[in-house]
Symmetry: C2
């Protein structure tokens, strides 16, 4: 049953997206322009993501901290590239109580400055290193155009900030956290990703280099989904993060930062969902199983309760829909909300000691024996997780191209867009030329030497890199 409140993907993908986030009660628009409300379903999804990621961060030795939300302008201005990157999108606090502030404060757009300032005061010797910190918080970037989860003036994220006594350890950290993100995307969100280094133009303001996790939406558009930055000693020299090394000499720290945001919810939707609403991979779904008694009948209710208890005992997040709506309405609601498995408990099935189980991703129905419920649920949730990953992987493979000319790129991006691998000379002008094709941008540089005898597909000059290109979300 198609959901009447949701536009078809084939009609208008962008409209479909906003219809899905609204219909599944992930967010609502607020009275504050450019800011969205996280409704219970949306926040529960974020909490689940947080809990998985936070655990991964802690297992890799990181500790959570919390820095102030305000950044005095003067502190922000210390690092030239950072301020020129972020100043145009800062929100400024200029009044506190009834008084004008002497110096205006930026609402943090990111916290390199405050972490650097803190490290400069607390790191004294190599024994204090490394410091492996992370914080979960809200940030603000004053975007002109906004879309729920994908681009909004306030969003929620985590930002990791670390300082190290040497370059190799800091670079290893930058790569380790990229791997953590990749694992999270692939194993939990069921989203296959490509990873690599950003070009100079696309890297984070102030970073030596930026590593990125790039995902492909089902319509072939690319989404930068998480990033990990290596700063070298750039910030530590500006913010004076010095330490005494083992040779009793002063040295500057080597620094990294890495972040992921509520935008991941947007990726999840655009990779997996369908015309009926949300489709969530079981490992990240806040509620994995819904049980729907077809009628409000004592026997059905008692069996439903029994099934719920045994599933919850096995660790499956399960609930029974007892609302006074029709069974059909409950089915549709479970579908639009993306509950991975639905168990229908009806009188006729029960006569045979059976229930019906329906998978959200492929809508397959199975009639199973009551005493098979736990086994089948376990198997089907596992299967659904890998099927969803494989489906997304197939889309990514189908939409990954090699191109040797601008015309080819145009052709691809106008027909069935995706990731296009192509050689590039390293000049920004050629990147801008690519951007004219429906906003195609370099996603990341491919680690390969095969560019060595090749030419830039834009200017035909000697290639410096092979790059993955894609339409920027």
């Amino acid at each position: 049953m198609k959901n009447d409140t949701i536009t078809l993907r084939s009609d208008d993908f962008a409209k479909w997206y906003t219809d899905v986030v609204r219909a599944s009660h992930l967010t609502d628009y607020s009275s504050v322009k450019g800011c969205t409300i996280f409704e219970p379903n949306g926040y529960a999804l974020w909490e689940k993501m947080q809990s998985v990621l936070d655990d991964m961060f802690k297992r890799t030795g990181h500790q959570n901290v919390y820095m102030p939300v305000f950044i005095p302008e003067n502190l922000l201005k210390k690092e030239g590239e950072l301020i020129s990157g972020f100043a145009p999108e800062c929100a400024w606090i200029t009044q506190g109580g009834n008084e004008e502030l002497e110096e205006r404060f930026a609402f943090r757009p990111t916290s390199e400055t405050l972490f650097s300032d803190y490290f400069s005061k607390t790191v004294k010797t190599y024994r204090d290193l490394p410091k492996l910190y992370n914080q979960w918080c809200n940030v603000v970037r004053w975007e002109k155009e906004t879309r729920p989860f994908l681009r909004s003036r306030e969003f929620l994220w985590q930002e990791g900030h670390t300082v190290h006594s040497n370059q190799s350890e800091a670079e290893a950290e930058t790569h380790r956290m990229l791997d953590v993100y990749k694992e999270f995307f692939e194993n939990y969100l069921a989203i296959p990703v490509i990873t690599g280094k950003k070009t100079e133009k696309e890297k984070f303001a102030g970073a030596e280099y930026t590593l990125t996790v790039e995902a492909l939406m089902q319509n072939g558009v690319s989404l930068q989904s998480a990033t990990s930055h290596y700063f070298g000693q750039k910030f530590s020299k500006v913010y004076d993060i010095k330490f005494v090394n083992k040779d009793n000499q002063f040295d500057y720290c080597y620094q990294t930062s890495w972040g992921s945001t509520t935008r991941m919810i947007g990726a999840l939707i655009m990779v997996h969902s369908d015309d009926r609403g949300l489709v969530l991979p079981p490992k990240i779904a806040p509620k994995q199983v819904v049980i729907i008694p077809i009628k409000n009948d004592e026997k059905l209710v008692s069996i439903s309760e029994h099934i719920k208890d045994s599933l919850q005992e096995k660790g499956f997040s399960t609930y029974i829909d007892y609302s006074d709506k029709s069974a059909g309405f409950k089915f549709a609601e479970a579908e639009v909300n993306g509950i991975p498995l639905r168990i229908e408990v009806g009188p006729r099935d029960l006569d045979n000691n059976e229930v019906t189980i329906v998978r959200r991703d492929n809508l397959e129905k199975q009639v199973i024996k009551l005493n098979d419920v736990i086994n089948v649920v376990t198997q089907q949730l596992d299967k659904m997780q890998s099927d969803m990953f494989n489906k997304a992987l197939n889309n990514l493979k189908e939409r990954t191209y090699e191109a040797t000319s601008l015309d080819e790129v145009k052709d691809i991006m106008n027909n069935k867009p995706g990731f296009v691998n192509a050689h590039w000379c390293g000049n920004e002008e050629c990147e801008l030329k690519m951007k004219e094709i429906k906003g195609t941008k370099s996603r990341c540089i491919i680690e390969t030497k095969d560019y060595e005898h090749e030419k830039c597909i834009v200017c035909n000059k000697k290639a410096k890199h092979k790059v993955v290109w894609g339409i920027q979300y």
Copy 2:
């Protein structure tokens, strides 16, 4: 061993407090005036509190959501009492990117306005009710004088916001959440509290009434520690939160809010800690047991690892201090950081298959057999939790007084301050008169009829209430 960086409580309680928060690495001062940094130890404590409270909120049927951080001035101004209560301490965002905003935004000081605005759009019929929401977030109040955890310009908190179809359900919610806080304070923080209704002067701006949880610090000063507000239909009439009731008539919702903040960390410190540093109740300590091998010796390390594994298996948060510091230094560090139990693994004890176990609260040492470790740790952590509660309860009892004259109150507050129960006429003037005694304020109204033939201890007129008074932190 007294910690050299910590002032004695008997010398200067306020200085002792800030010394403890710094020495135990809970917070550091930031370059942003009035805002503190939550260092790993401080944030871990907050995370632990969050996880316990969040679980209690969810078990009582609440869902987490997230509202924007910005409140347009115009929306904030709708409810007159609220704005007059909060406007003097709002921080204002007046610029976004390079542009002046047409309307300035307050950084949320509390979110009744945005929740009300959201409820007004989403609540249509009694079937939509109740809505039981909570959010964890940062808030800003532009305080002039600040102290870590107790009063700071930005702080972290949770704010619950609920709407109901009738008064009795909303009032029951207001009381239920007070009980949740009380349980949290008593069972987890080991802090005995008194609860009751605030006077008109002390209630939340815009509330019909405010219920409060009040704790007594070890020096006899009172701390308002969590509050639960009943709004009746006050906000719902201003923000137009209407619904169709069962009789098919329009009615306005009944509303509540309730909140607790990082100030609870301040209460924890001032109730339990000592001249050596932090003392944490086991149930809220992020790390419950530290194992300290006296030397870096293979056998000691292997036994330590074994103890750690078996304690962790039983669910006790345990770590081994492997740093290259002296054993004495490690003991002192575990003490200042408030690790509830320390296990010393030394060669001489091991010869007898023994280890030494030291409780942080009373510093009692026990030499125990290796195969008793799990039993003793389990018992001692339990015992420590209840001992800490009882010690605080004794202090509270010892410092709870009945007074029948202002002179008595003066005498008490100047000698051994605490909670003073005394009759009051209900007039604000008399409250202000009490305030002259070292900032004594009404904490809450006692639910009793025994005021009926009594007189106000300030003005001698007919009493309207019996009230608990205390020096305001």
